[in-house]
Structure formats: structure tokens, C-alpha cells
């Protein structure tokens, strides 16, 4: 049996392919949008996974350093370290700063940690050049994407820092690139005031400034201890909020990603709807262009099923080619995006199913037109 769809497409192959690729670019954007969401999830968990602490101890009644501002005393780590079940505890700070880089400063998140402590937030797998911090002062490990090279010098606040290490794919939950400095430098940058500010505070009767604060205490537990029980123990005795790693991930997902996910989901839905309408319009136009031939086919006795098969096959093929070109398009451009885009096969699979359903729905418009075509229209010119 002659495959009418194949013959029709072969006859105007260029036009068909260009049309399909046009729709494909739209589907590529849908894939990128899904990838942006996946990237946000991955980004949000990088720092938590790299630190890999069992417990996060933060200011009481706050959700922790990623969702809300939190300040606790640095020496809290000492009292945490002697709680039953705690193996190590360390202080850590997080602060958004601008790194000077040419005419355009780069926004980064500085992670402050004790270079000689027991918990190192730099994942060795991501350290691609140099080393982690080896001194208490004026060293910095930067993300490759900041553009700094090993041994570059840069000014932070009033001090000069040397780049001693380069990491890759290290970002905060907000997508900012990560840099690592020593806890002492971080505390100085975050909690020390300028001389003018100190003088102004004195005039106001405010004296003293505690620079030994940190944003959180992180703890690793000994084997065999239940994290929930140790967390409960710390909450009762230290009047702090304590979160397990899982709870910290949930806070990130709920507070930082959920709304963005809804936004992206809505945008993706609209794009899919637009793609469906465009496919339907293309099929409608393609069917309209063939109305004379369809009338003739109906007049000479070709059954509707043969003509409908042609319309449905063309629509499906349009959807499939659009899906393939959309995938190629998204893979060609996704690395150009400033924030992480993660393209997953499962998302592509889901989109494929949606495209097939959308194509079938779109073909109904063409099919309706075929059924309503009057065979008598073929007679009389």
C-alpha cells in the first residue's frame, strides 16, 4: 500500500523539515526550562553534599543559613563536640560578596571554614588545580568560572588574597559561584566594621563588636548514633535549631526551589501549549493546502481511513522530528547558559510522550477537515 504521508513529505521535504525544526526549537526551549529546574535542584544540594555534615546547628527559631539569617557563637562548636554521639564539630560562615574582576565584579558566595579543622567543605573531586587552604589568612580557593587563575592576587575588603586552588562546578543554592576563605578571614570580612563605623558607634554609646560569630555549626556523628536523637538532645540543651542533612535539603527544596519550580513549571506548560497550537495550525494549513486532492481522493473512492492515516502520520512525524531537533538544539546551547542546566533523559522521555499526545490532538483538526471535505468540490473546476 502506498504510504501517502511519506510521499507527501518527500515531495516537500525541505519545507517540512524547516517547519519541524522551527517547532523543534520551541521544544528545545521547553527542554532547557526543565533543565534549568534540574540545575537548580543540583545547585541547591552541591554545598550541602560537599560539606556532608550530619547535623546543622543554627540560631534558634531560624531555618538555617541558606533560608534565613543565622548567627551563633563560634565557641558553640566546642560544647557541641562533647555531646554524646558527636565525632567532629566545626564553625562555618556563608556570605555573598562581590569579587573584583575587570570592570564587572562577580557575585560569589564566600564559604568560611577552619583550614585545620576536621570538616573540609571543599570536595576533593571538584578541586581541579592547586590545593585547599593551607593557612589561616589571605588565601582563597575560587571556582573556575570566576576567571581567576592559580596564584592570581585579588583584594577583598582591605586585604590581598592569593588564589591557591581552583574548583569546578561549585555553586551555592542560589546559583552563585563559590569561593572558600579561612574562617578567620571570613569573620573579619563579615563582622568587622570600618574605623569610621566604630567611631560612629562609640558616639552612639555602642561599644564592642563581636567578631567571633559564625553562621552555623556543623557536626559529624560517630557511627551507630541516630541523628534525630542527637539533634533532639542538642535542641533541648543548647536552645538552638538543629537540622539533619535531609531536613536541610527539604528546607532548600521547599523554601528556595518550590516557587521557582512552579514558575518554571507554568512557563513550561505554556510553552507546551503554544507548541501544540503551532503544530495544530501547521497541520491545519498543510491539510488546507491539500483540500482539492483530498476531495478528489474522496470522490474517486479512497476511504477516509487512508486519508486520515496520512494526516495522522504526518503530524506524528512532524512531532517526532521536532522532538529530535529540539533535543539537538537544547544540547547545542545548554552550556551557554550562565546557570547550570541539567538535561535528563527522563525529562526528554516525558516531553516525548507529551509531544506525541499533542501531535495526536493536533491531528484531530486536520482529520475533522478531511471528514468534512466535500467530494463534489472536485467536480466543476
Amino acid at each position: 500500500m502506498i504510504n501517502l504521508a511519506k510521499k507527501d513529505i518527500s515531495h516537500s521535504l525541505g519545507k517540512f523539515l524547516v517547519t519541524a525544526m522551527g517547532v523543534g526549537m520551541l521544544l528545545g526551549i521547553v527542554l532547557i526550562m526543565m533543565g534549568v529546574y534540574r540545575g537548580m535542584v543540583v545547585d541547591a544540594e552541591i554545598l550541602i553534599n560537599d560539606i556532608n555534615a550530619d547535623l546543622w546547628i543554627v540560631q534558634e527559631d531560624t531555618l538555617g543559613p541558606f533560608a534565613e539569617s543565622s548567627r551563633v557563637h563560634e565557641d558553640l562548636k566546642n560544647s557541641i563536640s562533647i555531646i554524646d554521639g558527636v565525632k567532629y564539630s566545626e564553625a562555618i560562615t556563608f556570605q555573598n560578596i562581590q569579587l573584583p574582576q575587570g570592570s564587572m565584579p562577580i557575585r560569589v558566595m564566600a564559604v568560611g571554614y577552619d583550614p585545620f579543622g576536621n570538616i573540609n567543605p571543599i570536595n576533593p573531586d571538584r578541586l581541579i588545580e592547586g590545593s585547599k587552604l593551607t593557612k589561616d589568612h589571605y588565601q582563597i580557593v575560587v571556582s573556575k568560572e570566576t576567571g581567576f587563575k592559580l596564584h592570581d592576587e585579588l583584594i577583598l575588603a582591605r586585604d590581598k588574597y592569593e588564589v591557591v586552588g581552583i574548583t569546578e562546578k561549585t555553586v551555592s543554592s542560589g546559583g552563585d559561584l563559590l569561593v572558600y576563605i579561612s574562617l578567620k578571614d571570613a569573620q573579619k570580612n563579615q563582622f568587622s566594621y570600618s574605623n569610621n563605623r566604630v567611631r560612629n558607634d562609640r558616639e552612639r554609646g555602642i561599644t564592642g563588636n563581636d567578631t567571633t560569630m559564625v553562621n552555623a555549626i556543623i557536626a559529624i556523628l560517630k557511627n551507630g548514633y541516630n541523628t534525630d536523637e542527637v539533634a533532639k538532645n542538642i535542641k533541648e540543651w543548647k536552645h538552638k535549631s538543629v537540622y539533619t542533612k535531609k531536613e536541610q535539603e527539604d528546607i532548600l527544596a521547599k523554601n528556595l526551589i518550590e516557587r521557582a519550580a512552579k514558575q518554571i513549571g507554568l512557563f513550561t506548560g505554556i510553552l507546551i501549549l503554544v507548541s501544540t497550537i503551532i503544530i495544530a495550525l501547521i497541520i491545519y494549513t498543510m491539510t488546507l493546502e491539500k483540500m482539492k486532492e483530498i476531495s478528489i481522493m474522496k470522490l474517486i473512492g479512497i476511504p477516509n481511513s487512508v486519508i486520515i492515516k496520512m494526516i495522522v502520520e504526518e503530524t506524528l512525524l512532524l512531532g517526532i522530528i521536532a522532538f529530535i531537533s529540539g533535543n539537538i538544539f537544547s544540547h547545542l546551547i545548554y552550556e551557554k547558559f550562565p546557570k547550570r542546566v541539567v538535561l535528563e533523559i527522563s525529562d526528554a522521555g516525558l516531553l516525548f510522550i507529551v509531544v506525541i499526545i499533542a501531535s495526536i490532538l493536533s491531528s484531530f483538526i486536520g482529520v475533522k477537515k478531511v471528514i468534512s471535505a466535500d467530494p463534489a468540490a472536485a467536480i466543476g473546476g
Binding site: M1, I2, L4, K7, D8, S10, H11, S12, K292, E293, I296, M297, K298, L299, I300, G301, I302, P303, V306, P375, A376, A378, I379, G380, G381
Partner: protein, 236 residues
């Protein structure tokens, strides 16, 4: 021996109601035998195409009876709801223009209907090649319609009408788009087909020069169909 191929009895066709009521055909009766080439003539708007569509099971009459071959297909209603099947099995259509499917090559245009009717690709292509040889355009079998001249395409259109071996051919002004020489050639071809393949051919035409080539002339006159032998016709 020739036998009756088309029989129409008391055919009535009207459109509209009240002030818009128009009756085109009023108890028209006629018959056509196999092997005959019939010219159907009438002034514009008299109902030639409508009559052709009623015989071709495309347009439903208001009342009357129609036989195609031995089968009564209409008796105040379609006796077989699947009129497209009747067309597929019994009737070949030829139009003013060739109306070949532009995205199918010549052989596919001819074999589409037979393959839809259940013939294998090989069987239908064999018949198609025989028809193309018959019409002297076998070398164009793989060409696209856009690569053929108007006359060649019209011959392909006739071959397509014959591909399913119909016993009736309905031709709606098949020479309208052709010059005089080609028109005569096409009508002679239709006559040859009618005789050699035992087919009844009804051809709507405005071209009086074609009438002497036909066996009989049917004229729609006062909403009836009047028949005369072409050579004795006073219609010309």
C-alpha cells in the same frame, strides 16, 4: 452483446424550500449501454454536473431510481450507505483538469485506488503499466505530474479512471483545458476505451466539435433528459 450499464428512472432533483426552491430534474429517465460514448449537453446551470454527480453517487437525488450495472443503488434513498465503495468499484472519474495527486508519481497516481481496493502493489503496477503503454506514456511512469504536459497528464488521468476496471466512466468536460487537436484525440481515446473495454462513458461537454465523435447525445431540456443519436442529432 451490449447490455444496460446505467439506468435512471423518474429522477427528481430539487434544492431549497419556499422562495428558494429550485428544481433541476423532474422525472428524468434514460439509460446507457456498455460500449457507448455519450455526450451530455445542456446550457450552463441546467444541471449537467448535478446529474453526473447523482449517477456517480456523490449527490443524493430527491427521488427516483438509479441502476449501475445490475445493481440498483438508489430507490428514493441510497440502498448502500457506503456510496464511496460503489464509486470505488463501479465508476471511474475524469475531470476538467487532470487533478492528479501532485505528490505522487504517475504510477502511484494510477495504482492508489486499486491498492486501496485490496490489489497488491505488483498486480496494480502491472495493470498500470499496461494502461500507460496503451496511452503511449509508459516511459513517464516514474515522473511527477508537474513534469508532464497537459495532454500527457490528461491521459494519465484517464488511465487512473480505468485502473480499477470500472464499468462506467463519468467525464466532466475532460477536453475543456485542451486545444482542438488534443480534445479530438482524448474523445477518440474515450470511444476506443468504451468499445474495447466494454465501458459506458458519459462525457459532459460544451464543445460541439466533439459531438459527432460520440454515439449518442443526452440533452437536459425542460428538466428532462432527451436522447438522440449523434449523427441524427438536431442538437448540434
Amino acid at each position: 452483446m451490449n447490455k444496460q450499464s446505467i439506468r435512471v428512472e423518474n429522477l427528481v432533483k430539487s434544492f431549497g424550500k419556499g422562495d428558494n426552491f429550485v428544481d433541476i430534474m423532474d422525472k428524468a429517465s434514460f439509460s446507457v449501454e456498455t460500449g457507448e460514448l455519450i455526450a451530455l449537453i445542456a446550457p450552463s446551470g441546467a444541471g449537467k454536473t448535478t446529474l453526473l454527480m447523482m449517477i456517480g453517487c456523490v449527490e443524493e437525488p430527491t427521488s427516483g431510481q438509479i441502476w449501475l450495472g445490475d445493481e440498483k443503488v438508489y430507490d428514493n434513498k441510497w440502498l448502500n450507505k457506503d456510496t464511496r465503495k460503489i464509486r470505488r468499484e463501479k465508476i471511474g472519474f475524469i475531470f476538467q483538469a487532470h487533478y492528479l495527486i501532485p505528490f505522487l508519481n504517475i504510477i502511484d497516481n494510477i495504482t492508489l485506488l486499486p491498492q486501496t481496493s485490496g490489489q497488491t502493489k505488483e498486480e496494480s503496477e502491472k495493470v498500470a503499466m499496461e494502461l500507460l503503454k496503451y496511452f503511449d506514456i509508459s516511459e513517464k511512469a516514474l515522473a511527477m505530474p508537474s513534469q508532464l504536459s497537459g495532454g500527457q497528464n490528461q491521459r494519465v488521468a484517464i488511465a487512473r479512471a480505468l485502473a480499477n476496471k470500472p464499468k462506467i466512466i463519468l467525464a466532466d468536460e475532460p477536453t475543456a483545458a485542451l486545444d482542438n487537436e488534443r480534445s479530438i484525440s482524448v474523445v477518440k481515446m474515450l470511444k476506443k476505451i468504451a468499445v474495447e473495454q466494454n465501458v459506458a462513458v458519459i462525457m459532459v461537454t460544451h464543445d460541439e466539435a466533439m459531438l459527432p465523435l460520440c454515439d449518442r447525445i443526452l440533452k437536459i431540456e425542460n428538466k428532462k433528459v432527451v436522447s438522440s443519436l449523434a449523427k441524427e442529432s438536431t442538437f448540434i
